[in-house]
């Protein structure tokens, strides 16, 4: 035997062994390439989008504080400007630049414009960009109606130098004149810069600052100085490093981004699964070729290498295509939805896409490795089949059997159960993701066992096609496992995501109903913390005809811990009974007499480690005030947390009688439209309030929710396609192996239609089993998503809602699709010469 291959040139044989199959079956090669490309593309696209978003956010945060070494940051309503000279006089401080931060609504648009008030002289040391842009005309900023716009703000608002526009700041409108545009590289985000004096005056911030940026003397020890400066600051004001600022900005969206990355891993995993399926199919198809090569003297080792080289070639082509596709998908997604894919984390930021070869390399390698890993088992199995036996027919059951036994599955499930109660790692639900992977993988391992058990118990029906089909299933349970696993994984993923999203949506809807009890809401535009309803306007609103009762609330921003993002402080009429009724309370504790109660949101409780009965110091007007946690409530609106206190207590502590929002109950018979009109007429001209009914607010909220979760629907669709793909691949392989059987059945008088029907039945049964197991696994995964992943990522609890109708319909559709795919693949693979196949083994 060994004499023959010596006469063949080695390179030629290798080329024939590797490239031959590819050239011979370009369709199959394309399939594998597409699978790899899809996985790589999804992973890379999510990575690129994330990276663009994060670098954009941190670049934005960093450009705002310029070359600052330390940033003294107050809450949105700022701190006393008296702190500024104190900080400037610290000997190690080389430059101190006071800053006003505000957000103003641009009248006539839905846009808000962040405005920075700067002292150009002081900012020059920290913001060379501004100094250069303001240049010899820096003094022009002294014009009280003057503003410099960043290039992106000018673009978004369609303004150019010399134009005027109106903004709403506080309750008054003012006209601003665009003095000049900042160079395009200066600030990528939308931004306007005014003189600090004009900003203090016109934006209602007299006597206050939001920030002081500090540049330290060369050689000053930053951490040591930070501690000393922190000691100078009133409660609620923090000395941050630029890295802290980055972390705060990025932490807002980190959990969301990690969730997306996990989904992209799912995509790559299913891609690998697909390679396995197509390679298994290829191995079956080429069983005799391989046997022939072996007979010609190619060693098992060499044959194995040939197979891996082939898979590697496919992987490289697929990964290359995937990288191109990923870049394209990311570009389109960024352009269409923005860096957060529509989730609203980074408004006003215009990300740019960039990719270095070093970044692309891991994704490329992941694609190649996935292809090799997917090909490993089929290639080894094919290479190790004894040539003499493989050259005959009827031996095809062996190679495609990935049976590992139910024990492995059980162990994986036990691991999942152990991982579920573990806490988040660094704020990320890593163990939750691990548990999900274990649950799905465990189900895949248990599937063959379940299949065998079920097939053995299939009822006997006197119908030829059915009996042949069930006999086939019983006889070769391992063959069907591939189909079951494909359906199981795809339907499981889909089920879990559907249950999670529906639960979230329903919980949000219920919550909105609970927190919006009034008939009408009035709030101070989008100008955020610059806008107030002053006490006079509150009286005017309450006395409007048609309004039976009016309640006013004040919202502002506070810092509870230097390393955590700011949270919302809400002051509105509260008492323990109302908390039960008007808040989605999750837990509560009685507050001892003489203590001031505070109700904290779930996110605030999780992030700051609070539970009912705890004492918490809340910084108000620069002093830390003691409160007792009376309860924890559900809040879907503020991801970084919210604390709620009684408005009387708030006014008593701060003397701040202003409000941002009014809840209005109408008198019987009063019409919403008329009362809104009356309100608008009564309030001073030039003021800007938004008046909305609860229905409108709910509609807007639900629209935002649906946009945020749009991406998950896409991934569900991908999962389904991959599932069907797996069925198709598995049936194509089976049909090839069973050509002799089909030929025989045809000779016995079965029509091609009947053979197709039989295959459809097999596919349907396998699909149904996959759907059933997928449903069970998906349900368990959804519980993990809701109670572990969601809770640890976003700190909010959800009530479980099962979309039975949707799941049932989708499951049924998937079973039908499985049957159809099986029949179709069978038909394709059988071909016209199946009748002659009977002769092959004789």
């Amino acid at each position: 035997m060994s004499a023959v291959p010596l006469s063949l040139p080695r390179g030629l044989l290798a080329r024939a062994a590797v490239l031959g199959p590819l050239a011979q079956a370009p369709g199959r090669a394309a399939l594998s390439i597409i699978a790899i490309a899809l996985g790589v593309a999804l992973g890379l696209a999510v990575h690129l989008i994330n990276r663009a978003a994060v670098s954009e956010v941190s670049a934005a945060a960093r450009s705002l504080s310029g070359h600052a070494d330390l940033v003294v940051q107050g809450p949105a309503d700022g701190f006393s400007e008296a702190l500024y000279p104190t900080l400037a006089r610290v000997p190690e401080v080389a430059a101190a630049s006071p800053v006003i931060e505000a957000e103003a609504r641009v009248v006539g648009t839905r846009e808000t414009l962040p405005i920075l008030g700067l002292d150009v002289f002081r900012a020059a040391a920290l913001h060379p960009v501004i100094a250069a842009a303001a240049g010899p005309r820096g003094d022009a900023l002294f014009a009280e109606d003057g503003i410099l716009l960043s290039a992106s703000a000018a673009r978004a608002l369609h303004l150019k130098a010399g134009d005027t526009f109106t903004v709403q700041a506080g309750l008054t409108r003012m006209e601003l004149r665009v003095l000049d545009l900042l160079p395009a590289g200066a600030y990528r985000q939308r931004l306007g810069i005014m003189d600090i004096a004009a900003a203090q005056w016109k934006l209602g911030r007299l006597g206050h600052l939001q920030r002081v940026d500090l540049r330290l003397q060369p050689g000053a020890e930053r951490e040591q100085l930070r501690a000393r400066i922190q000691a100078l600051l009133p409660a609620g004001v923090q000395a941050l490093t630029p890295e802290d600022q980055d972390a705060q900005a990025a932490s807002l969206s980190r959990a969301y981004r990690v969730n997306l990355t996990a989904l992209s891993l799912v995509a790559l995993f299913t891609g690998g699964f697909l390679v396995f399926a197509t390679q298994a199919l290829a191995a079956v198809r080429r069983r005799r070729q391989i046997a022939l090569l072996r007979a010609l003297g190619v060693t098992r080792r060499l044959q194995f290498l040939y197979a891996l080289t082939e898979a590697g070639t496919l992987g490289m082509v697929g990964a290359g295509a995937g990288i191109a596709l990923g870049i394209a998908v990311a570009a389109v997604a960024l352009k269409t939805f923005g860096a957060d894919l529509g989730a609203g984390y980074f408004p006003g930021v215009e990300p740019e896409l960039a990719l270095t070869p070093w970044e692309a390399l891991p994704f490329f390698l992941a694609g190649v490795v996935t292809a090799l890993a997917g090909a490993l088992v089929p290639a080894w199995a094919a290479a190790s089949a004894p040539p003499a036996q493989a050259l005959k027919a009827g031996d095809e059951e062996r190679p495609a059997s990935p049976s590992r036994g139910w024990r492995t599955g059980l162990i994986l499930w036990i691991l999942a159960a152990l991982a579920i109660p573990l806490p988040a790692v660094n704020g990320l639900p890593l163990f939750g993701y691990a548990a999900i992977a274990c649950i799905l993988l465990g189900a895949v391992f248990v599937a063959p066992f379940a299949a065998r058990t079920l097939f053995a118990r299939l009822p006997v029906i006197p119908h030829a096609g059915y009996q042949v089909a069930t006999a086939q299933l019983r006889g070769t349970p391992a063959q069907g496992s591939l189909s079951i696993a494909a359906v199981l994984v795809s339907f499981g993923l889909m089920t879990s995501m559907a249950i999670m999203v529906v639960s979230f949506r329903a919980s949000l809807d219920t919550w909105l109903e609970k927190v919006l009890p009034a008939d009408l809401y009035l709030r101070t535009g989008q100008s955020g913390d610059t806008a107030f309803i002053p006490p006079e306007a509150q009286r005017l609103i309450a006395a409007t005809p048609g309004i039976a009762r009016a309640e006013f609330g004040r919202g502002r921003e506070i810092f509870l811990a230097p390393d955590k993002p700011a949270l919302a402080l809400i002051a509105r009429p509260m008492n323990p009974e109302r908390a039960q009724k008007g808040l989605a309370l999750q837990s509560a504790a009685p507050v001892p007499a003489g203590r001031t109660p505070v109700w904290v949101s779930e996110a605030a409780a999780d992030l700051h480690g609070l539970k009912p009965g705890d004492e918490v110091a809340i910084p108000l007007e620069g002093a830390a005030r003691p409160f007792t946690v009376a309860g924890i409530w559900r809040d879907y609106a503020r991801q970084t947390g919210a604390v709620l206190i009684d408005r009387d207590a708030y006014v008593q502590l701060t003397g701040d009688g202003r409000a941002n929002v009014a809840s209005l109950w109408l008198s019987p018979g009063a019409a919403i439209g008329e009362v809104s009109a009356a309100l608008r007429a009564r309030l001073p001209a030039g003021t800007d309030y938004e008046i909305a009914s609860p229905a409108e607010i709910r509609a807007v909220s639900m629209r935002i929710f649906d946009r945020t979760f749009a991406i998950t629907h896409l991934l569900e669709a991908v999962a389904i396609v991959i599932g069907l793909f797996g069925i198709s691949a598995s049936f194509s392989a089976q049909v090839l192996a069973r050509r002799g059987e089909f030929g025989m059945l045809r000779h016995l008088g079965m029509t091609p239609g009947q053979v197709g029907g039989m295959l459809a039945l097999e596919g349907g049964i396998l699909g149904a089993l996959g759907v059933a197991m997928g449903l069970a696994a998906g349900f368990v995964v959804s519980l993990v998503l809701i109670h572990v992943v969601n809770r640890q990522s976003f700190h909010w609890s959800l009530d479980l809602h099962l979309p039975w109708g949707l799941l049932l319909a989708l499951g049924l559709a998937l079973v039908c699709a499985s049957a159809f795919t099986a029949a179709l693949s069978g038909r394709r693979a059988m071909g016209p010469d199946v009748l002659r196949a009977v002769r092959e083994d004789w």
Binding site: F121, G138, D139, E144, A197, L206
Partner: protein, 354 residues
């Protein structure tokens, strides 16, 4: 004498919603000391300008300049903000070291307020952060920690203030509306330290302090000026200036001489004639400055020549101007040295508007 100002102010003039109400400089206002050594915030511009020669030992001679400007922007704002730009302060400092061959200089600018940048009324006390010029116990002290050097100098007056023009009313153009209140303290005895290249050098020397305030300095025809102030070796003091028009001719001129015996003589425009002796072109800005002059003063001729040629000050970043301000030696008609002082040449690159 007349000094620099901000190109800044010109633009502000155009922008102001409501122009500031500056008091005019009128003849007959008697200067009183020490009250007039402090700030006059109502006027548009004001400066305290110290120049002088230092002896750093081993025959090493240096020139230095420390200047604080005050500027009241031309807007009468109703803004109650403590940041409202009611007064702006600027400071320049420079050291001329022939061993270096170019000026070491630095600058500061800030809006007045919060005790960080202030110009006090009633006594000399101007400061921007850690830069200050303060008079206490009869001694002026300048503390200037700058980027490439540091100055820590005390100035003791040996003579009474020298009032220019008509008892401190110094006319700058054909119209009496162009004028300033202006006095000098020549022959100041300097002691202190200069830090350069990480070394602290004790220094002594003699200096000249100008204090001048005005609301309307230059008329429409003037584009710049040449100024010289010399501490004469015999104890006298000589100040000469001319305002130039766009053609480079003299639009106005004047000067003051205090003799060693204390007699003061004021010069009319016809008494003063500036003639350039030598030009030097800056390799950085390309501007040509007449850095040496023959000046006719009445019936005398005084020649001034620079300690080094490159004493150009580029302050375009803070004040928007570029000028030549440097240490010079003075010689008589027979070319014998008669004293040392400073020469200032403005408006050679671009017209100044004050």
């Amino acid at each position: 004498m007349t000094r620099l100002l901000r190109a800044l102010l010109a633009t502000m003039l155009a922008l102001a919603a409501q122009a500031a109400d500056y008091p005019p400089v009128v003849p007959g206002r008697a200067l009183s000391f020490p009250a007039d050594e402090g700030s006059h915030p109502a006027y548009r511009t004001e400066w305290w300008y110290v120049t002088g020669w230092l002896d750093a030992g081993n025959g090493k001679r240096l020139g230095f300049q420390v200047t604080f400007f005050r500027s009241r922007p031309d807007l009468d704002t109703g803004n109650p903000s403590r940041f409202a730009p009611r007064q702006l302060l600027f400071a320049h400092a420079a050291v001329s070291d022939p061993g270096v061959g170019r000026l070491l200089h630095d600058e500061r600018s800030a809006r007045a307020g919060f005790g960080l940048a202030e110009a006090r009324e009633g006594a000399t006390d101007v400061r921007i952060d850690d830069w200050s010029l303060v008079k206490s116990d009869g001694v002026f002290r300048a503390s200037i920690p700058a980027r490439e050097f540091g100055l820590d100098l005390a100035f003791r007056a040996s003579q009474p203030p020298l009032l220019h023009g008509a008892k401190g009313f110094s006319q700058k153009g054909p119209e009496p509306a162009s004028a300033s209140h202006y006095y000098s303290l020549p022959q100041l005895q300097v002691s202190g330290e200069i830090t350069a290249g990480g070394k602290r050098l004790p220094v002594t020397g003699s200096a000249w302090l100008d204090h001048e305030w005005s609301s309307s300095l230059m008329d429409a025809e003037a584009v710049g000026w040449d100024w010289v102030g010399i501490n004469l070796d015999d104890g006298g003091a000589l100040m000469l200036f001319r305002m130039r028009d766009a053609r480079g001719g003299a639009r106005w001129a004047g000067g003051t001489l205090r003799g060693a015996d204390g007699t003061v003589r004021a010069f009319a425009p016809a008494d003063v004639e500036f003639a350039p002796e030598r030009n030097w072109r800056s390799p950085r800005s390309g501007i040509a400055y007449p850095v040496a002059w023959r000046i006719r003063v009445g019936d005398r001729v005084v020649t001034v020549r620079p300690l080094m040629e490159d004493q150009e000050s580029d302050t375009r970043k803070s004040t928007g101007t570029i000028y030549w301000e440097g240490a010079v030696e003075a010689f008589d008609a027979a070319d014998r040295p008669i004293g040392r002082g400073y020469l200032e040449l403005t408006g050679y690159g671009k017209a100044l508007r004050l």
